[in-house]
């Protein structure tokens, strides 16, 4: 019975795959083309890279909610109970030196990615990932200890970037819409939001690794 169900599932999945391939191979051209619209409005978006313009301006509201999703994932970990602190005494002798060498470079790389976001793919999330990696490296090298679950600093950092985003979104309601930047201030607003977010997201990502239950 179990095997029968298994094979039936595999058969169904195969059929699905076939149908999908067939469907996309015979797809007529799309009636709506957004690339042109993006290009037409790029000049007033505040950034020069179309993807960044979509991410932070045209569909900035998606990004706003996406940050909340990341925070929620961390909250889920807090709710489920933090893992115990890592065992000490299994120190990797190469790591401290490596970390001291690499972390400044990573900081530079993070800011660079943030900066590059205006012109090419990149931006707050990539910057945050690199910063978070730096924090993890420091932690693995035992230069940075684990964060206890009631640590205020990381929480403030995570909340801070998001609250900045939220405040800008709310303040812009004056213009008649969530996150509706006035064209001349769009660039500044986006840089502000991205800078705040990169710190907030970095701490958020690092927290998955560094937040640990207090030693019992």
């Amino acid at each position: 019975m179990k095997r029968f169900v298994r094979w039936l599932s595999i058969l169904a999945l195969t059929v699905l795959a076939g149908a999908l391939l067939l469907a996309i191979s015979s797809l007529p051209p799309a009636p709506v083309k957004l690339a042109g619209e993006v290009a037409a409005n790029l000049a007033v978006s505040g950034v020069s890279h179309p993807v960044t313009a979509v991410l932070l301006n045209f569909r900035g509201y998606d990004t706003f909610l996406e940050v909340a999703v990341l925070i929620i994932a961390l909250l889920g970990m807090l709710a489920a109970g933090l893992p115990p602190p890592p065992p000490t005494g299994s120190r990797n002798a190469m790591l401290p030196t490596l970390a001291r060498l690499a972390v400044p470079l990573m900081v530079l790389a993070a800011v660079y990615l943030l900066w590059a976001g205006a012109f090419r793919p990149g931006g707050a999330f990539q910057a945050a990932a690199v910063l978070a990696a730096a924090a993890v490296l420091l932690h693995l090298a035992e230069i940075q200890g684990p964060w206890p679950d009631n640590a205020r600093g990381p929480r403030l950092a995570i909340a801070g970037g998001f609250l900045l985003f939220l405040a800008i979104a709310a303040a812009l309601l004056v213009n008649g819409g969530l996150l509706r930047y006035p064209p001349e201030q769009a660039g500044l607003n986006i840089v502000l939001i991205e800078s705040g977010l990169s710190v907030s997201l970095a701490v958020n990502l690092a927290a998955f690794f560094l937040l640990r239950a207090p030693k019992s």
């Binding site: 060498l101 972390v103 400044p104 900066w115 840089v191 800078s195």
Partner: protein
């Protein structure tokens, strides 16, 4: 302090210039990034801890290292394509002569990229090394010398 700040700041600024391909846009962000990296660097690696680096020694090391690395790559490639695996691996305890910290890191990293050797564990003043061919001589002595050369000959 100020000197090392400026020195490292220049280094990071150079790196930024390379990365950004000289694009001057949004320079305040660039300044922030360079400053951030410099501060982080000074915090993590205070000037007094960092041994002085000899540019000439570094250059000599690099040329030698690229040659060694090429040899290492070729050796592994040959081993891999041989119909019969001609491996005689072993774990060897290697006493270390280079001082701890950056020199030792450079030594271990380079050793792993050179023909036939792979660092497995640093413990105290010895390095456990995995070799592909236990009959092949280790180049540890020479590597140690060249690493020492990078750090101003201090040994």
């Amino acid at each position: 302090m100020i000197v090392s700040f400026l020195r490292r700041g220049t280094l990071f600024a150079l790196l930024w210039l390379i990365a950004s391909e000289g694009n001057p846009a949004a320079w305040p962000l660039a300044v922030a990034g360079i400053a951030g990296a410099t501060v982080a660097s000074l915090w993590l690696l205070p000037a007094k801890v960092l041994p002085p680096i000899s540019p000439a020694g570094l250059a000599r090391f690099l040329i030698w290292f690229i040659r060694q690395s090429l040899a290492g790559g070729v050796q592994v490639a040959l081993l891999a394509v041989q119909p019969r695996l001609a491996l005689r691996p072993a774990l060897i305890e290697l006493p270390l002569t280079v001082p701890p910290g950056l020199p030792r890191l450079l030594f271990t990293a380079a050793l792993s990229l050179m023909p036939g050797t792979l660092g497995v564990r640093l413990q105290g003043d010895t390095l456990l090394v995995h070799v592909l061919d236990r009959q092949q001589p280790l180049q540890a002595e020479e590597l140690a010398e060249r690493v020492a050369g990078v750090f101003g000959g201090a040994r």
